[in-house]
């Protein structure tokens, strides 16, 4: 097969905790073809040039959410971003912003996972149901209210995009709040009141300043900015209703 491959420079932020005091850039010359993604470029580096390069990946088709990275300073999925769009310039690849770097492109995701668990990301039934009652019925309109927000693949690009999360990691963050909204907006769910406690906190929607970059970078069109900011109104209404209600009357 006769093939003259182009070569692109991929500059990667390296960090080996046992060897390095701080991260540094290392550049690799990677031959590529028109259809190669940045992830494939990294895989070439690991297979052929430097087996010590560490990074997460799995499905290579933008559904598992593993391969997120800062590509030329923008949070993107490596499998969803193509080397041809950067050539002949070099591509700079860094780990997702606002997360602690564990090694090379691998970031610590513990904070995000912990937050996912806190919001009760499951349907809490309104009343106990038996199997004999059959499945829930939902109209297309009811599905429409949640479908977009249920598309999240937990890739954390929105957290890398969000400067408020970067400035204060106590912020629950765009992705998790979008998921929270997904459950609150689900006609089958009854746990809205409990989830509102998280929404109403400073670390909930009130840390958001509507930068909107989270929705820009989301590879699945979830629009977390919308989920968070429409809940500011919900939270504000909840606040003022709560002021008027007599104490001890429950939530």
């Amino acid at each position: 097969m006769n093939e003259t491959r182009k070569v692109i420079a991929i500059e990667v932020l390296r960090y080996r905790p046992e060897l390095d005091n701080k991260p540094f850039f290392q550049t690799y010359q990677v031959p590529f073809t028109e259809e190669m993604s940045v992830l494939q470029g990294l895989l070439y580096i690991k297979d052929e040039l430097d087996s010590t390069l560490s990074f997460r990946w799995s499905c290579r088709m933008a559904i598992c959410g593993s391969c997120g990275a800062m590509i030329d300073g923008v949070p993107k999925l490596g499998c969803h971003t193509f080397l041809r769009d950067y050539y002949p310039n070099k591509v700079r690849v860094e780990p997702l912003a606002h997360f602690p770097i564990e090694r090379d492109l691998v970031v610590g995701a513990d904070d995000f996972i912990g937050k996912l668990e806190r919001i009760k990301p499951y349907i809490v039934p309104k009343e106990p149901r038996t199997l004999a009652e059959g499945e829930y019925l939902q109209t297309p309109a009811q599905l429409e209210r949640i479908l977009q927000f249920s598309s999240c693949i937990n890739c954390m690009l929105c957290y890398a995009a969000c400067p408020q999360y970067g400035l204060d990691p106590a912020f629950i963050g765009p992705g998790v709040l979008a998921l929270l909204h997904r459950y609150n907006a689900d006609s089958r769910d009854a746990a809205r009141a409990e989830r509102m406690e998280l929404v109403n906190a400073e670390e909930g929607v009130w840390s958001c300043t509507a930068v909107g970059y989270c929705s820009e970078v989301c590879p699945k069109g979830v629009d977390p900015a919308n989920a968070v900011n429409q809940n500011k109104t919900t939270s504000a209404v909840d606040y003022f209703v709560n002021l008027v209600r007599p104490k001890g009357a429950g939530r």
Partner: protein, 132 residues
């Protein structure tokens, strides 16, 4: 004994690294001149309460070249505020479905800008009306 030593990168200069963030900071910065104009009006009201000569002095200062130049800057600031306000407004609203179709953000923005145009003309007409 763990070999982990997670590294946190600093946030300094975060907004300078991306044109999206620079636009965000400009939008937020419009607040400073909104406060400035409110202060101009506040002084007008204070001077009004202090009597004719005090108020006339304030009014005269509005005619100075510095004030005119400042108000041109203020005008640009407010126009950008109006624009950016209605750009972000759709993000603050829940899904609205009209006859089976979702209301698009661009429509909401256009409606807001139209409302601003109508309100502006309305204010001008009201002013002319009161003035006559």
């Amino acid at each position: 004994m763990s070999a982990r030593r997670p590294y946190m990168r600093p946030m300094d200069g975060w907004w300078r690294r991306n044109p999206f963030f620079i636009r965000y900071m400009i939008r937020e910065a419009t607040a400073v001149l909104v406060v400035a104009y409110a202060t101009v009006l506040l002084f007008g009201v204070i001077r009004l309460a202090q009597g004719e000569s005090a108020y006339d002095a304030w009014l005269a200062s509005l005619r100075s070249p510095w004030s005119l130049a400042f108000h041109i800057v203020l005008l640009a600031n407010f126009v950008y505020h109006t624009w950016s306000w209605f750009q972000i407004m759709p993000k603050t609203m829940p899904m609205i479905v009209i006859r089976g179709k979702r209301l698009q953000p661009a429509v909401i923005t256009a409606a807001g800008l139209l409302a601003a145009a109508v309100a502006s003309v309305g204010l001008l007409l009201l002013t002319l009306g009161i003035g006559s």
